[in-house]
Amino acid sequence: MTKHLLSVDDLAGRDGIQRILDLSGSFLEVTQRDMPKVPALRAKTIVSLFYEDSTRTRLSFETAAKRLSADTMTFSVGTSSVKKGESLLDTVQTIEAMGIDAIVVRHGASGAPHQVAQWSNASVINAGDGRHEHPTQALLDAFTLRRHRGPSLDGLNMVIVGDIRNSRVARSDIKIFAALGVNLTLVGPPTLMPSSLEGWPVTMTSDLDSALNETDVVYLLRIQQERIGDALFPSLREYTSRWGLTADRANRLKPDALVMHPGPMNRGIEIADEVADSPRSLVTEQVANGVAVRMAVLYDLLGTGGPVV
């Protein structure tokens, strides 16, 4: 990997992705030990800089850092000088002055981690930026799917359903799964599709039912209620009837088809309650694998190259 993980592009293609996924497998084994902690990043300091609320991603990164014996600091915007008007640049320079090794950034503006990387000597990890990317989510999604259908994902058919236009998870997942040989179909109301698919290795349809016939994996995105006010679709009820993974639709899937969701789920809207809890669903496993994948990323960026344990 390069010095930073700002985008799935930084993983350097299929080989780089597979290397991190393999490493994640080793760390998954570590997390399942009685004492799930290794000294790999002792004396390294990792700061989480979160400009958006995110309990699960922040906790996942901090747990990963602690299990690697790194020191962690949290800079959460609600309780900091940002409230007093400090700019992102000044905040980064302040953190930088304390001597740290990595900054994990979550920001509401696309590209903010790219700027942090320009301003800082530390490694920068994108923990979700605006509508752009969420590369560690994509890694944990690929890792999770590979444990069920791997090691090769070549030729699998995946349908991604929902608000693609505004989704950083979708942008990262499309890159990672395309690199791993998965055939991708984007489904949702045309108002929630990207305005241009130029250069995207995907096909697009608004007809979920036909897209589900041949699919091996359904990846559902969280639908946000406030999009209704922006005239993007008429109602949650209509959304569910056309693009929700209802129990009926799930019953028509191939017997071994799997269901994924980045969370938090809107049960009863994009995913039916019984589908979320069915054996097809990998949702809780996705969360569980997040720590191992983030350990792999931190280790790869900050480690000295020694053995994992």
């Binding site: 700019s87 992102l88 696309s110 605006g130 509508r131 942008r171 305005s195 241009s196």
Partner: protein, 444 residues
Amino acid sequence: MTCLAPEALLSNEIVIVGGTIIDSTTTGTRADVLVRNGLVVEVSPSIAVPSGAQVLDAEGCVVSPGLVDIQVHFREPGREESETIETGSRAAALGGCTAVICMPNTDPPLDDATVVQAVIARGRSVGLVDLHPSGCITIGRKGEQLAPMGELYDLGVRIFTDDGDCVADARVMRRAFEYASALRGAVIAQHAEDPALVHGGHMHEGEWSSRLGIPGRPAAAEITIVARDLELARLTGGRYHVLHLSTAGAADLVRAAKQQGLRVTAECTPQHITLTDAACANYESTFKMNPPLRGEPDRAGVFAALVDGTIDAIATDHAPHAPETKAVPFEQAPPGMLGVETSLAVAMTQLVVPGHLTLQQLLARMSWQPATIAGLGSQQGRPVAVGEPANLCVIDPTTQWERHANESASKSRNDPWEGEKLTGRVRHTVLRGAATVINGVAQR
């Protein structure tokens, strides 16, 4: 003038020696030019230098009327940390300008006679370029109640615009056209982007906005407003000018409207004919502007419209922003980039060097045509001929140089041409008979 003038400005005689004149009447006449008391008094192949006269070397250079940039933001009053009338005027003079039109989005805005008077007075006291304010169409640029257009007109304002805020309400726009038709020579200029369609957008909607995850501003937002405004101009007989036109679709509409005899003109910026939305790929906020840098088909369409004469003028939309306001995530940065100092060189590099336009055709688009649009045709963009006002620019057309923003006279550094290799450069600028720039150095 209150400040101490160096000798250059005290001398009332200047001889421009060795140059070739290009203006609206000649594509190239080898001649020296004698300037006295603000006027051109002699043009002939060889002029004996009177004692005490200042000599400006124009060997290998073109002597042309000064450039006229009809869209600049000098930020005064209100945003003096980004630019002032003094620093902006100096940058304009270095860019070869002898006249500029300042946009009215100051704080307070130019919707009131006292503010307009103050800007005019400040421009005069700086004295590095003839500075003419444009005026707001509506109070506070809110698009509701008409600004005192008549009062502003009486102070010399000819271009009326709400600038970055498009007049979205068709009824208000119609009234503005109708009311301004009582003011001879006044023009209604529009930043044509429908606010409803660009709402929340930060760059051109297309391939790159989708890839970068940045909400887009569709080309249709410009095209629909231009289409509507042209119909309103037809309805009212109004005089319409499209600011920084950026789409092939709007260029087509303007071309057709001109053929139908509507009273319409248009300008484009050097950046919209040179750069595309791909420049935003690294989230560099320097390349954020409104209207946004477009995709290649629009860039090519605007370029073609400038070449074929549909677009009448190049204006820069020189928009300085203090470094700290641009050192933020792309979506949070204000739109705009510098331009007044580099526009001629960028345009020569893009248009004249590859042979799309002759230098005379380019100067038409940067001097006498914009002067006419802005109602300055009696003072600016005049032929270099005896009896004419000595607002002149001496251009070295072959010199090659590399742009570095840290050398800029502007207070800001949001320069899209940083590191760019350019051909052609302004050597001297003469404003009403006095040299404001000699050998690329501002005289004040």
